[in-house]
Symmetry: C2
Subunit: 352 residues, 2 copies
């Protein structure tokens, strides 16, 4: 036994030993999940590749730089306005590859099916996977199917892992943000999370809120061409914009300051969030990149994003500061400043 | 909508439309799973890479030949004699890479955790994953953690995807068996399935039956060195030896004949099987390769297997025939011959 995890010795401010069992927040993309990853998984699995904690690993294999990533999808319900679990599984993994600048090439798909799942539902979801792959120009190279007893699954869980090729000269990484850099988002925040929650909770809004699930790899390649150099990219999924900015500030040991009024949010999403007491900055997206670039190229990158169907509402929202490293500050509508922290645990569970 | 699945038009002898819902047999590695893969997934996802249906896909990326595979693990219980779900997840994916002759390099690990899972259990399983990786010389490059509500999972499901490099000159494929080739197995059959089932059902045998979970990539590299050329390799998991021989006979369009008395089976596994009315040829293994090689190299390959700690009980069991393409025949103990068909559905569910 060389178990390197140390349940008793952990002394971080939000120690894992306060949770003797897994709770929903451990999968929610916030502090609790970070604690689990750092204190348990990273402690046990530690190696130089995993240590970078980017959306996808960058691997040197036989002279090529490959991107490799994995994601399991447990979204409930399986179908929601604007998409379904199949489309989400393809786009989510493509976007993790895109976030290190890779061209996605191949996906694997692992199904965990619950006994009793209607064959017709599986047919619709696999059709959706096939269309999402065709749209993004990737191929499914490997698959696996497991069946679990009725009551021991939730219809269908999907794991997609992805493999991509990083073009020469591209070196995008969460730790490359520099003071003076410009922070952009590729579009409106919160659409996916609010769309899933609305259908789950049975809310009806006048305008249907749709998931923003979309593959972003083509847009990223255009951004790279336009920019010359992109410092950081991150797919703003679980934990939303707030989590991503905190992770980038932490990884680069810089401060990030942004203007709340410049963050694009659909009026209907904002209305739903106000009704439900949620903050759109903390809500998952499934087709949005957070982008950090040197100031001299920000106009060109913004223009490239707006040319893409997935980036029409892209916006500059802030900048990287030398002060308060690791912290994210928002300028509020009324002119004040507030600290935007990493969410603790669960805001909206089972959102992806 | 370009859904290519065609529920009504299927006319295969065991049509999927007889099953309007998923049943346990769809995940059991037999005919029902093959039908699901062929008529639903392959129909929708079709592409040249996936069409080969090997244990791992062989991909040409930037001048390198990569092996890529995925596997989800839903074994119940999580701990069993000789191993646990974590070790199984690492070795299973390594063996799929090994079966195309690849050197395994990197794994991804995706956890689906059930709310309420004791943190100590997760710690033991991730420790087991770390040790299995160290043993096999692979690194975990990417990970993902999702949490599902209590009652909607089963403690822990693990997906591992794997990436390996196929050395120059190696071209192992299920469709390369030729009449006259020799068929070997790397050791005893049925250990894993019987070990899991024994603990699940609470059977006590005089000698504890242990899972054979083991990484086989090093043994395979030694076999390649010894053989010059290996035609087919397959990891004998779900569906056991019977399923693998049928798949190879079908893919190569050859007959396979083997001698039942030459298949190594532990006395205690045989006794358990007789008690329970099971056939060890149909039971899952997690550390055994089925090997098909040209006759001139079979002695050298057998010797190389026996040198490895995972192949000490390797044996020649039969040969490839020109007659009855796609069929597997066994010579029985009393001198007769029987057809060994692909198992239909579920023998032992949730075995991996």
């Amino acid at each position: 036994m060389t178990d390197k995890s140390d349940f008793l010795g952990w002394t971080c401010p939000r120690p894992l030993q306060n949770y003797p069992t897994i709770v929903m927040g451990h999968g929610a993309g916030g502090k609790m999940m970070n604690d689990l990853i750092r204190h348990l998984f990273a402690a046990q699995f530690q190696n130089p590749v995993l240590g970078r904690l980017a959306d996808a690993a960058t691997l040197q294999v036989n002279g090529s730089r490959l991107a490799f990533t994995t994601d399991s999808f447990v979204v409930s319900p399986l179908f929601f306005p604007g998409g379904d679990i199949g489309e989400l599984a393809v786009n989510g993994t493509i976007n993790d590859l895109a976030a290190v600048g890779a061209r996605p090439l191949y996906l694997s798909v692992g199904f965990i099916l619950e006994e009793g799942l209607p064959m017709e539902v599986l047919g619709r979801i696999s059709g959706s996977i096939a269309r999402a792959c065709a749209r993004a120009g990737v191929q499914i190279a490997a698959g696996d199917t497991k069946v679990v007893n009725k009551g021991h699954g939730d219809g269908i869980y999907i794991n997609t892992s992805g493999l991509g090729l990083i073009p020469d000269g591209v070196a995008i990484s969460p730790d490359k943000a520099k003071p003076g850099d410009v922070v952009l988002v590729s579009g409106t925040m919160g659409d996916h999370g609010v769309a899933v929650m609305s259908v789950r909770e049975g809310f009806k809004f006048q305008t249907e809120i749709k998931s923003d699930t979309a593959p972003l790899a083509d847009m990223v390649q255009e951004m790279i061409k336009a920019a010359g150099e992109i410092h950081c990219l991150r797919d703003a999924t679980r934990g939303g914009l707030a989590a991503v900015l905190n992770e980038l500030a932490e990884a680069s040991q810089v401060g990030i300051e942004f203007d709340e009024t410049k963050v694009p949010v659909r009026a209907e999403v904002l209305a739903a969030c106000e009704l439900l007491g949620l903050d759109p900055l903390f809500i998952a997206n499934e087709g949005k990149m957070v982008v950090i670039v040197p100031p001299e190229s920000s106009d060109r990158v913004l223009a490239a994003m707006r040319e893409s169907p997935s980036g029409r509402e892209a916006a500059v929202i802030g900048h990287v500061a030398k002060e308060h490293p690791g912290m994210v500050l928002a300028r509020t509508e009324i002119g004040g400043t507030r600290v935007v922290d990493l969410p603790a645990g669960e805001l909206l569970p089972r959102i992806c």
